[in-house]
């Protein structure tokens, strides 16, 4: 919990466009995924990875999480992407086409080798696997457990629908099973779950509806293809005022219990158990990010009371 990282919005930025890379510091998303894969034409693969490296080396006032989507490891570009980009210290690697645990394990091994070579802490580079095929969805649990570097599972609907030979609809009913399965695997492992992109950047209502669905299911964030989508997604993931009020009451109850030296926490005549406290802590962390509360909650205080 001490390493909680808010990941409501993960914005894709093409790795071959300097004009867009230079705007990375200014957008208020929680994470950026610099893309070396689908957004970059074959002829620009080499130039793009070097451009991204230069950008990362010069982007010293890092104000958000930076991930790089490399090309698949079984392609001729994947390893080279890692070799060029990792010395510029991204926070993690978005692994496309993570169909099996073995692919993730291979990336884990490579990252360890690079960390040793770069003389940085082992485990420094995180992994965000993208489950975007029928095989990947089926293997979700195995993938979630394939590396301790994995901080979240991401569901990729565009490739998934292609692998299923179906069309993606606005309502997304055809994605329901896959979405849920990826979510189960993430929750079972205790990591975050990131929902797929919503491709129509002019349809803010559609984006809102899909984000609300993802949030209701249990997703903690969403991938975005345009900065204009950030505000809607953050708005959906913002806690409601009554949720914040209740969470504050829970924390107050914890403090009271500690003062009284009792392990039993009561609120309004009802017992407050560990999951309620956990949820309250999550609500207040998110509320802090939204500016709804002024101070970050004291983790020690909460955990001490449990």
């Amino acid at each position: 919990m001490a390493h909680f990282k808010l990941r409501r919005s993960l914005l894709y930025v093409p790795g071959n466009m300097p004009s867009m890379l230079q705007n990375i510091p200014i957008f208020n998303c929680d994470s950026v995924i610099i893309d070396l894969e689908d957004a970059v034409p074959l002829a620009e693969k080499d130039a793009a990875r070097h451009l991204v490296k230069r950008f990362l080396l010069n982007y010293t006032d890092r104000n958000k999480e930076l991930l790089v989507r490399i090309n698949p490891l079984d392609s001729k570009w994947g390893y080279e992407d890692l070799k060029v980009v990792l010395p510029a210290m991204p926070d993690g690697i978005r692994l496309p086409k993570a169909d099996t645990p073995e692919i993730v394990e291979r990336l884990d091994t490579l990252l360890t080798e690079f960390e040793e070579e770069l003389e940085v802490e082992i485990g420094r580079f995180g992994i965000l696997p993208s489950l975007e095929s029928a095989l990947g969805v089926i293997n979700a649990v195995g993938i979630a457990n394939s590396s301790e570097r994995i901080f979240a599972l991401a569901f990729g609907a565009e490739d998934y629908t292609a692998s299923m030979e179906i069309e993606r609809s606005r309502g997304g009913e055809e994605l329901f099973n896959a979405r849920t399965r990826v979510l189960w695997a993430a929750k079972a492992k205790g990591i975050q779950a990131v929902d797929t992109i919503f491709a129509d950047v002019s349809d803010m209502e559609g984006l809102r509806a899909e984000t609300e669905l993802a949030k209701r299911l249990g997703y903690t964030g969403k991938c975005l293809v345009n900065p204009r989508q950030i505000e809607v997604v953050h708005d959906v993931f913002a806690p409601k005022e009554h949720e914040v009020e209740y969470a504050l009451q829970v924390i107050e109850a914890i403090k009271r219990a500690r003062q009284l030296g009792t392990g039993v926490i009561a609120l309004g005549g009802k017992m407050v158990d560990a999951p309620v406290v956990k949820r309250a802590a999550r609500v207040l962390r998110t509320a802090y990010a939204h500016g709804m509360v002024d101070t970050l909650i004291d983790e020690e205080e909460i955990h001490g009371a449990q």
Binding site: Q22, N23, I26, F27, S202, N226, P227, R228, E231, G291
Partner: protein, 512 residues
């Protein structure tokens, strides 16, 4: 040469007049009474209709060296100024000054008449090619750039004397009553022309829509009009006003708008009675949209929206978010429609709008104004007149007027224009003094002038990206590099008048 208080070198004389260097935004006070127009008598049965512009020019008594004026409400769709200048040239007159409310790119047609000496100079700002050629030293014509309020002041106090005012009248009767609301060349408010009509020695109404007497409602009355001329077309309706003004969809613009709207909310000004002005640019409208949403959410009832009015403000009026619109100029067709039907949509003169030398102008009642910039410097001075290449390409408009009048003036601008940083050590030309600017908002951060220390604290508390303006400049220059300074000749091609008539800066010929 003298140095003004902002360190700009000002010549002692320009175009035969002694210049007053700028001191500060507030201290200069007027002397004497207002200018007067000739007393006249028109008896029953005497008509005002003339058959052509030529006849009107001859009847007006226009002679070498005199000054004419038109208004720019028809903007880049205006046909009138070009036709008048062509007639003046055909009459063989020389040395005529133009004191229009603004000159637009469409008026580049008069450039040959500047070169031939028919036109001697401009008592007004210019947009486009005329300014560029002047900056290159290719035109010998003094240019005095004024704000909207400053122009009204200069005419009312008599420092600019208009001999003949030609007023494009979209709806007019044969006795000279007119408005801008109806007709094929409808432009809405005639706020600039109202001043010309009140103080010019001779007033000629030119219309392509002659209606039976009386033309109602009366925007400019018959008592001020000497002659009426009917022409086939006053202008191109497609260019008179824009059909639509749209909220930006550019993510960078939206980011700026988001910060700007949060600045307004943090300022504490957004409460019942709130008054507001924005331009018609995409970022400004995006700010307006966010302000509108905040007003809806907080059930806030504003007092008035001001300035160049867009359909956006009309929607806010009709929704009850504002009690009134104070309109010196309509920016789109929806605003034109509204001013003709809604009594809470009030046409105002440029004097009432922004003249600093009267008993109180509307800009003094503004809570918040959103303004643009081509450059800002680390002292918060703003340039909107010259581009980064040094060419004089834009008029001042109401920029300095509203910045001085409003409680909070916010500059919104992308941090990088083309490949150049918006924040400079020293702007190429000072249009609006830094003392009247509150906040500069870019997508990379928000710089707050020290005179708004409380607002700065509140923005920091709200975790907005507040930065010292010099730090913001350094951050931008890390991306763009530091541009090489422009080089200029000594020759002054235009002076930038502050709203009170003092000279805030000059534009010099660009070294090619």
């Amino acid at each position: 040469m003298a140095l003004n208080s902002l360190g700009r070198e000002i010549p002692e004389f320009y175009a035969g007049k002694r210049l007053v260097p700028y001191g500060d935004a507030w201290s200069l006070r007027p002397e004497g009474a207002v200018a007067a127009r000739p007393v006249k008598r028109v008896n029953p049965g005497e008509g005002k209709r003339l058959s052509s512009l030529r006849e009107a020019l001859e009847a007006s008594g226009l002679a070498d060296g005199m000054t004419i004026a038109t208004h720019h409400s028809l903007r880049n769709g205006d046909f009138l100024l070009n036709r008048i200048v062509a007639e003046i040239a055909a009459m063989g007159l020389k040395g005529i000054w133009i004191a229009s409310s603004s000159v637009h790119p469409v008026h580049a047609e008069i450039i040959p008449h500047i070169k031939s000496g028919v036109i001697a100079g401009f008592q007004c700002g210019v947009n486009g090619l005329i300014g560029e050629l002047a900056s290159r030293g290719e035109l010998s014509c003094p240019i005095v750039v004024r704000t909207h309020g400053g122009r009204a002041r200069s005419i009312i106090e008599g420092s600019v004397k208009i001999d003949v005012a030609f007023i494009a009248a979209p709806c007019c009767d044969e006795y000279g009553n007119m408005n801008g609301y109806y007709g094929p060349s409808a432009c809405g408010s005639l706020g600039y022309a109202q001043i010309d009509a009140s103080y010019a020695s001779c007033v000629v109404a030119v219309t392509d829509n002659l209606v039976p007497f009386p033309a109602i409602p009366v925007g400019i009355p018959q008592t001020l009009v000497d002659y009426v001329v009917v022409v086939d077309r006053l202008g191109d309706p497609a260019k008179i006003v824009s059909t639509t003004t749209r909220v930006t969809t550019d993510p960078v613009g939206l980011q700026i708008a988001s910060y700007a709207s949060q600045v307004i909310e943090a300022s504490g000004l957004l409460q019942d009675g709130f008054s507001f002005q924005t331009g018609s640019g995409g970022i400004s409208l995006a700010v307006a949209e966010k302000v509108r949403n905040a007003m809806r959410k907080g059930s806030i009832k504003g007092s008035f929206g001001c300035g160049g009015i867009t359909g956006y403000f009309v929607e806010m009026l009709e929704e009850g978010l504002f009690s009134a619109l104070m309109d010196v100029q309509c920016f789109d067709q929806e605003a034109v429609r509204s001013i003709g039907v809604n009594r809470a949509h009030q046409e105002i003169s440029a004097d009432m709008y922004a003249n600093p030398f009267n008993a109180g102008s509307v800009v003094n009642r503004l809570d918040c104004v959103i303004l643009g910039a081509t450059e800002v410097d680390t002292a918060f001075n703003v340039n909107v007149n010259t581009e980064s290449n040094g060419y004089l390409l834009h008029n001042t408009g109401g920029h300095s007027d509203t910045a001085a009048g409003a409680k909070l003036s916010i500059i919104v601008a992308p941090s990088i224009r083309g490949r150049l940083p918006i924040v400079r050590d020293r702007v190429t030309t000072i249009t609006t003094p830094g003392d009247t600017i509150g906040v500069v908002v870019t997508e990379r951060g928000i710089a707050v002038n020290d005179r708004h220390a409380e607002l700065k604290e509140e923005l920091v508390r709200r975790k907005l990206p507040v930065k010292e303006i010099a730090d913001l400049q350094r951050e931008i220059c890390r991306v763009t590099g530091t541009p090489r300074p422009l080089e200029f000749e000594d020759e002054v091609v235009a002076v930038i008048e502050y709203r009170d008539g003092s000279i805030i800066d000059v534009v010099r010929r660009v070294k090619e």
